[in-house]
C-alpha cells in the first residue's frame, strides 16, 4: 500500500472499534432479524465458538490503583469468508450462535458492502443501545441521594 492512498490505519481502526463495541453489546435477539442475511455467504470456522473466562480489572474513579473486579464469561469466534475476509467476535456470555453471528457481521463489515451493513445493522443497534443506556441512566439518576450534613447549632 502506497503512502498516497487515502487509507489511514487509525481512522479505519476506530471505525472498526466502533462496530466491534456495538456488536459486543448486542443481545442475541438484536441480531436474530439479520441472521439469514449474515449467514447468506460461504464461510468456515477458523476458531469455532468457544467459551472462556476473562479477568475484568478496574480503577477506582478511573485513575486509582488497578484492582480485580472479577471474572466474566466470554465467548469468542473467528470466521473466514470464501473471499478471505476474517471476522472476529468477543462477546460476554455463553451464547455460541450469537458469537458466530457477530463474527460474521465483523467479516461483512470489512467488505465492499461496508456502508450497507453499517446503515442496516450497526447504526440502528447503536441507537437502540443509546436509548437503552439513557433510560437506564435516567432510572438510576432518579434514585440519587445527596447526602449533606446540617450545620449544628453550637450556641
Amino acid at each position: 500500500m502506497t503512502a498516497t492512498t487515502a487509507y489511514t490505519p487509525d481512522a479505519a481502526q476506530s471505525v472498526r472499534q466502533h462496530w466491534f463495541g456495538v456488536l459486543s453489546r448486542t443481545h442475541r435477539a438484536d441480531l436474530a432479524p439479520h441472521e439469514d442475511a449474515l449467514r447468506d455467504v460461504e464461510y468456515r470456522m477458523i476458531r469455532a465458538p468457544e467459551i472462556g473466562m476473562t479477568l475484568v480489572r478496574g480503577r477506582m474513579g478511573g485513575s486509582g490503583a488497578p484492582f480485580n473486579v472479577g471474572e466474566m464469561t466470554v465467548t469468542r469466534c473467528v470466521v473466514r469468508l470464501a473471499d478471505g475476509r476474517t471476522g472476529y467476535s468477543y462477546l460476554a456470555g455463553r451464547d455460541k450462535a450469537h458469537a458466530e453471528l457477530a463474527a460474521l457481521a465483523d467479516a461483512h463489515l470489512q467488505g465492499p458492502q461496508q456502508s450497507h451493513w453499517i446503515r442496516e445493522l450497526i447504526e440502528p443497534l447503536a441507537q437502540a443501545q443509546a436509548v437503552r443506556r439513557a433510560r437506564q441512566q435516567a432510572e438510576t439518576a432518579a434514585t440519587k441521594v445527596d447526602f449533606f450534613t446540617l450545620v449544628r447549632g453550637e450556641n
Binding site: M1, R44, M45, I46, R47, A48, V78, R80, T86
Partner: protein, 205 residues
Amino acid sequence: MDAVTASATLLQPAFADPVLDSQRSFRAALKALAGPGVTQSLLSAQTPPHLEGLASASHALCLALLDIDTPVWLAPRFDTQAIRANLTFHCGCPIVSDRQNARFALLDDSQLHDLSGFDLGNDRYPDQSCTLLVQLPSLQGGRQLAWKGPGIESRNHVSLPLQEAFWEERESRNDFPRGIDVFFLAGSELMGLPRSTQVLFKGGV
C-alpha cells in the same frame, strides 16, 4: 495491507474438537515418552488440517503442548509467516529468537548437529529444560541402535535416520537429572527419547 490483516489471511482452522483432540495428542506424547523407541500414531481424524511445512504429528503436538506460558523457538525452516501466525493465534505462545529462553523448540534434521543454547533445566528444577520437537522425513531408515532405560523392558531397537553428530550432542548435554527430552515426528507418527534413555552403540554395554 497492515500486519494484522496480513496475518489474518494466513489463519486456518486447528483441531476439529479442540479439547478432545489435544487431549488425545497429549496422551500420545505421554505414551511416547513413557515407552521410548515405540512408535505412536495419531489417527487422521484427530489431527489438525494440513499447515504448510509441518507434518501432521508436529502440528498436533504444537497445538497440544504450546500455550501462553511456553516460549517456542523455531528452526529457520519452520519460521514462516503461516506457521508463526497460526501458532500465535491458536496456541498464544510467544515465539523467541533466543534458544536459551525457549521451553519448546521445533527443529528439522539440519539442526541436529548443534543443540547448543537450549535450556537443560537445573538440578532443582530439571523439568524446566527445553523439549525438542524434531520433524524427520521418516522414523526409519537409519543405523539400528539399541535403547535401554526406564520404560523399556530389555532393549528397543530403533533405526532413526540421524547423524552421529546428534548422538554426540545429546551425550554431551546429558547430565542427569539435567538434559533434553526429544520427540521425533514424521507424518502422523511420533517417538519419544527422554533424557533417561541410554543409547547403546556397537560395542556398548
